[in-house]
Symmetry: C2
Subunit: 411 residues, 2 copies
């Protein structure tokens, strides 16, 4: 197998992979209270109207709108005060167009009432009568039955990642547990004879494993689970054994494939040997991250990332995220967070290749942000730690000019 089958664009790489997989999402039930970030695996149908009774949106008086018809400061309407609406209970009385009832925000309108007058637009007379200085229309200051959602509405579609608002909505409907996607388990393997666990002291020539932890943190943040397989020796037998084991035990796997060309070729060759369709992408026209491998064997995705920790993390953010989102069943991912900023310097780039440049965001004196590239070799992890995000130089461009308004994708 050649080092690079042929370089493809990042979009094409994702297309090639997605054409060979058919993600099946497994459901598990979780408590809604703890479901933040989880993804729904079915349409959530409202079991009831919300609200399921007419509620006042103001402190004031429940009325029949027609009883306030023509009322004004100079010509008030006068209504008899029937009673007070108890909070959290059904009023045990009804009113006529000559009557009103004291009501608090959130209170249930008594039978007969169809609107509320704000207390600021009224005055209570010594007689007990209520003077109304403003007419209201039918439905004014009232939330109608089903105004938020109606029974049978799809309130949260399948494939939605839950935020606090959705959790609140589910609780409002009494849906206190919910079917969500079981996090896919991603096996993580690092290779490289120079790599040692971070818990050990390095000897000359050795470096500590970074990729297992950056990728692990990122995958958990996206909503996956991880299983660490540690550091695999750079030889065919060990790599094959470890990749096979991870493939059996996990849903998918990622190998950070050593830095040297021979290790990367070995990874691709092993992935290709594990069953159809094998290696789909071997080399992406992107910087950093060219030596990326996408392979599929049966229903399992295998990804080979460069050993270089910056490349591995950038590619995982950009290209592994949508893969995991697909296996979580996310239908239309929300836009990735970005910040608009003004580029501070000229950056050149190789035409035909998509480049991603780490930048720091600096508050601009004009308001807004400036994007300042963090230069340095692409394999220094603290380059990324010092960056707020990445900017993209599209493939056709030969660079970006200082002053260009760029969209910074937050890391």
């Amino acid at each position: 197998m050649p080092e690079f089958l042929s370089l493809v664009t990042p979009d094409k790489a994702i297309d090639l992979l997605f054409n060979s997989i058919n993600p099946v999402v497994i459901s598990e039930i979780v408590d809604t209270e703890n479901a933040l970030g989880r993804v729904t695996t079915e349409d959530i149908i409202s079991p009831q109207d919300l609200p399921d009774f007419q509620r006042s949106t103001v402190d004031g008086f429940a009325v029949l709108a027609q009883g306030t018809h023509g009322a004004s400061e100079s010509l008030p309407a006068y209504l008899a005060l029937k009673d007070e609406v108890p909070m959290g209970d059904k009023p045990g009385f009804s009113i006529s167009s000559q009557e009103c009832a004291l009501i608090h925000t959130g209170g249930m309108l008594p039978m007969g009432a169809d609107a509320c007058v704000m207390v600021e637009d009224t005055q209570t007379l010594e007689s007990g009568e209520i003077e109304i200085f403003r007419s209201v229309a039918n439905g004014e200051n009232v939330i109608k039955v089903g105004e938020d959602v109606s029974v049978g509405d799809i309130v949260i579609p399948v494939g939605t990642r839950l935020r606090p608002a959705e959790i609140g909505g589910l609780m409002a409907l009494g849906i206190t547990s919910i079917n969500t996607a079981k996090p896919p388990v991603i096996g993580i393997l690092s290779s490289g004879d120079e790599i040692i666990p971070p818990y050990q002291k390095t000897k000359p020539g050795e470096v500590r494993d970074i990729n297992s932890y950056t990728l692990g943190a990122l995958i958990k943040d996206i909503g996956g689970d991880i299983h660490h397989y540690g550091i695999i020796a750079d030889n065919r037998d060990e790599m094959l054994k470890a990749i096979k084991k991870a493939q059996q035990e996990c849903d998918h796997l990622i190998v950070t494939a050593g830095s040297s060309a021979s290790t990367r070729d070995l990874t691709a060759e092993i992935m290709n040997s594990l069953g159809e369709p094998g290696v789909l992408v071997h080399g992406i026209n992107i910087k950093p991250g060219k030596p990326t491998i996408f392979a599929v064997s049966g229903k399992k995705v295998m990804i080979g990332l460069p050993g270089n920790p910056v490349s591995a993390l950038v590619i995982a953010s950009l290209l592994v995220t949508p893969i995991i989102e697909a296996y979580l069943g996310i239908r239309s991912p929300r836009p990735k967070p970005t910040i608009a900023a003004e580029l501070t310097v000229n950056i050149s780039s190789q035409s035909g290749r998509e480049d991603w440049i780490p930048v720091q965001l600096v508050k601009s004196s004009k308001g807004g942000y400036k994007a300042e590239p963090v230069f340095g070799r692409s394999n220094l992890i603290f380059i990324l730690a010092r960056s707020d995000g990445l900017i993209k130089i599209p493939a056709p461009a030969t660079g970006l000019e200082a002053g260009t308004l760029v969209s910074v994708r937050l890391l």
Copy 2:
């Protein structure tokens, strides 16, 4: 106590609170591997140079740059191949300017070598000599000792929220556990006689508790811990008892203060009675969320939010977030994620009040996004569930025109 002391701007509200608190951050040690989202409570100083040996960034040959001087396709340099650099070990040999050593990406340069030549720029002769077609400069294709970080550098400043890149950097330095801010514990109390737990069936006039869960999810997401106190009856004794208990047991507390003016006044009055300085803010010139209370008693912050679930969640996102971030010790919060979008319709707003409008993001045919307001009463939770984010109409404005480029703050 009047219903509103006097309305202040959102910025002024935060200033008034921050002038009365002096957040002390408590440290706790966590494993770096699990520290995603945690906030450092000390400057992290590098215990070593990174890398701590000269590494090759290419597959090729380690050389003395001077030995390649003047080499070109037409006039190659010829170097004797001394040996191969073992991965993960110190080369047991040195080279002279007439020699070179086979080296792989990430390999340690042998004594004497100061640069590497890419394999693509060489040819191995039958004699075993290496033909070099391109001269390299001192340091070329080499990461120098300390090029990423030097011993003693502050690699991660105090008050930084850890992302995957920082976790990788710490692991690279062998820093496998780290001092981070202990999450502040926020007591959450809901009040309102019409509110019942979401696990119960509603009777007419009752609604389920939303705020405890939207706020709980949000606070955990920001990095706080929560303690639920459930639903408190709308009377002085019960409220006082519950707020005192939460104040004793938690670092800070949030009460969603019923919907009616009398309950909100009661909440403010109780918070004001618990010790100096008492209520600092009672009413903010913002929509939604006007009836917000900020109080401090001793070292504890007490926040009263409107009972209306949309107001409570919007104010928590906008104004409670910076408070919790302060108690996590975050020094310079990264910019909040936004998306630039074109507003689809005219929106009017009351001049002098800051308005936040929920919007949906729709992909524009021109590329980019359109922001489509999600209209509806501000107290319908599914209005927020249907929205991607919020747009701000600044206080001086009387609205925004269709076509305006707005910054959508993601929910």
